[in-house]
């Protein structure tokens, strides 16, 4: 192999080192604090360049990591999310008086954990990546230690995260018992007789799925999501709502691809389909009742992971490519929405009420337009990227003889239009209230919201750009 193993993980190494430097610089050179966000963003940009400059050798590090087009695709969107969240965090932290280097260090490390998860082909490495991501996020969620809601969010995420990690790990132990290896690639061929029968394998797979479903906030395992979304610092919520979910979905795709020949296919697909339907329906119905924007976005996230799971149920190349496009789209629209939410500058313990947006469309045209675009995209209205992503997912379902699943998905989208458009209605068609809530409009927040809005339109009009990359990535999965 011409390429050194160490060179294949240069982006991750860079981010880990810069994270450590930022944590150190916080105590050694506190005068640099206003520059930390910039440094983190530059490091993330550098990591992105490195990821695209380094060739893709495939299996490296003794077969533990898979640096393939799939890994590059997922890395790109994790890095994009990191970049946007780092920029978003700076004005927010400055305003709330918590501008510390540890914040960016933990953010970068969490990103590295997700990147490791996305390219690992070994259950041990998946677990370590997951925990690097989760433990960093526990601390980030509770970053406002003086805020009751932030502490509550941190504690809830920690307990749910620890619990789900243990469930996932028990599944890993059972899978290991059934196959005798932790490597996904060297799972025995379908014809090889399994030592203890298929039940051990199926139970293990079910438990691993449950563990990942906690991370994805899929329906029976979603109860933590609204509280954690509401209580966490908003830039952290933006990160939390896209990056762990993407990494977990990719792990799930790799796991299904590796173990599919072993597991009894129909039962497994039925389980995934049931969870997808439950997530979509519950997420959308409960979102209607929400008055807090962050909680509404949490339930919307539950529903969106249900849509993305439809692509995974369909599987095949078009299914996986659709899931990857969905992740990219979801990243853009969610970060746009949370960027606008982070401009709410009343006390962090106040709810972020949708009614507080009344009339803001005419007072703050830029931010309001970005929020409206994000809402239309989340609802799946053309010409936004949300429409393209939903179309691809449902097309994959129809092509794989899952018409009923596509129909349920489309009906759910219809329901969801109601609560997304209600936000736009408040923005533009309600008079300004007498007592106006306070907003801040820092340049960086407007920049992030603007970038996301442009991306939503650009990819919505030309979905081919991201779809081409996703199809190349999906081809690397064995089937």
């Amino acid at each position: 192999m011409p390429i050194n193993d160490l060179a294949t993980i240069l982006p991750e190494l860079l981010l880990v080192l810069v994270g450590a430097l930022l944590a150190l610089a916080d105590s050694l050179a506190p005068s640099l604090r206003p520059r930390f966000a910039l440094l983190a963003a530059v490091a993330v940009a550098g990591a992105t360049v490195l990821r695209w400059a380094i060739p893709l050798p495939g299996r490296v590090w003794g077969g533990v990591l898979l640096v393939d087009p799939m890994a590059r695709f997922v890395d790109s969107y994790i890095l994009a999310a990191l970049f946007l969240c780092a920029l978003l965090a700076e004005p927010y932290l400055a305003r709330t008086g918590a501008r510390f280097g540890e914040f960016y260090a933990l953010l970068l490390w969490a990103g590295v954990g997700a990147m490791v998860m996305a390219k690992s082909d070994n259950l041990l490495v998946i677990f370590v990546g997951l925990e690097l991501l989760s433990i960093s996020l526990y601390a980030l969620n509770a970053f406002h230690t003086g805020n009751v809601l932030s502490l509550e969010a941190g504690w809830k995420y920690l307990v749910v995260g620890g619990f789900s990690a243990a469930v996932l790990l028990f599944g890993v132990a059972l899978l290991y018992g059934a196959t005798g290896t932790l490597s996904l690639a060297s799972t025995p061929a379908p014809s090889a007789p399994l030592a203890s029968g298929g039940s051990l394998l199926l139970t293990g797979l079910g438990l691993v799925f449950a563990g990942l479903a906690f991370k994805l906030a899929l329906a029976p395992f979603h109860a933590w999501a609204p509280d954690v979304y509401q209580g966490s610092p908003t830039p952290v919520t933006a990160f939390l709502s896209v990056v762990p979910k993407g990494a977990a979905l990719v792990v799930l795709a790799r796991l299904v691809a590796a173990l599919l020949p072993l597991a009894a296919l129909p039962r497994w697909t039925g389980l995934l389909a049931a969870v997808a339907v439950l997530s979509m329906t519950l997420g959308n119905l409960v979102a209607i009742a929400q008055r807090d924007l962050k909680r509404m976005l949490a339930y919307s996230g539950i529903a969106h992971m249900g849509y993305a799971l439809v692509g995974l149920v369909a599987f095949g190349q078009d299914g996986v490519a659709a899931v990857l496009v969905y992740l990219a789209a979801y990243t853009l629209m969610n970060i746009a929405a949370f960027a606008v939410v982070s401009a709410f500058s009343e006390g962090e313990e106040e709810p972020h009420l949708i009614t507080d947006l009344a009339g803001q469309g005419w007072v703050r045209p830029g931010l309001s337009f970005a929020l409206a675009v994000a809402m239309f995209s989340l609802a799946g209205i053309p010409p936004t990227v949300g429409f393209a992503a939903k179309f691809l997912v449902f097309r994959a379902a129809v092509l794989n003889d899952l018409v009923w699943l596509a129909v349920v998905g489309v009906l759910n989208s219809l329901v969801s239009v109601f609560f997304y458009v209600r936000v736009v209605y408040y923005l533009y068609m309600r008079p300004l209230p007498k007592r106006q809530p306070q907003f801040s409009e820092p340049v960086l927040v407007r920049l992030v919201a603007g970038l996301c809005a442009v991306g939503i339109f650009l990819l919505g009009l030309l979905p081919g750009i991201v779809l081409a990359g996703a199809e190349v990535a999906a081809r690397t999965l064995p089937r």
Binding site: F127, V148, L149, L151, G154, A166, F170, V172, A173, G177
Partner: protein, 101 residues
């Protein structure tokens, strides 16, 4: 005479269930962290058992990683409990119920 693998797995499952029950039923923050530890150690037992059954070391290596990660998780958990105690003068997690849907 060797003890059959099944016994170890049954014991691990029982321990896992006890830990899960502890997480779900206890209201004291430290007891909840203990419950998570019991769950993780049940997994360690299962991993060591399977490693012996298959005659390779993969499972035992994972046990070490689980221990290290569990320690990190508890460190963050205890730090959070300290912050919560400063705020509420209690680590009864029922106090952490400001947010409701």
């Amino acid at each position: 005479m060797t003890v059959p693998t099944n016994y170890f797995i049954l014991l691990a499952t029982a321990l896992f269930a006890i830990g899960a029950a502890g997480v779900l039923l206890r209201r004291n923050g430290i007891s909840i962290l203990l419950g998570i530890e019991i769950m993780l150690n049940a997994v360690n037992l299962a991993l060591a058992t399977f490693a012996r059954q298959h005659g390779n070391l993969d499972g035992q290596v994972l046990v070490f990683f689980v221990m290290a990660v569990a320690a990190a998780e508890v460190a963050v958990g205890l730090a959070l409990l300290v912050a919560i105690f400063r705020r509420h003068r209690s680590i009864d997690v029922d106090r952490l119920n400001v947010m409701r849907w």
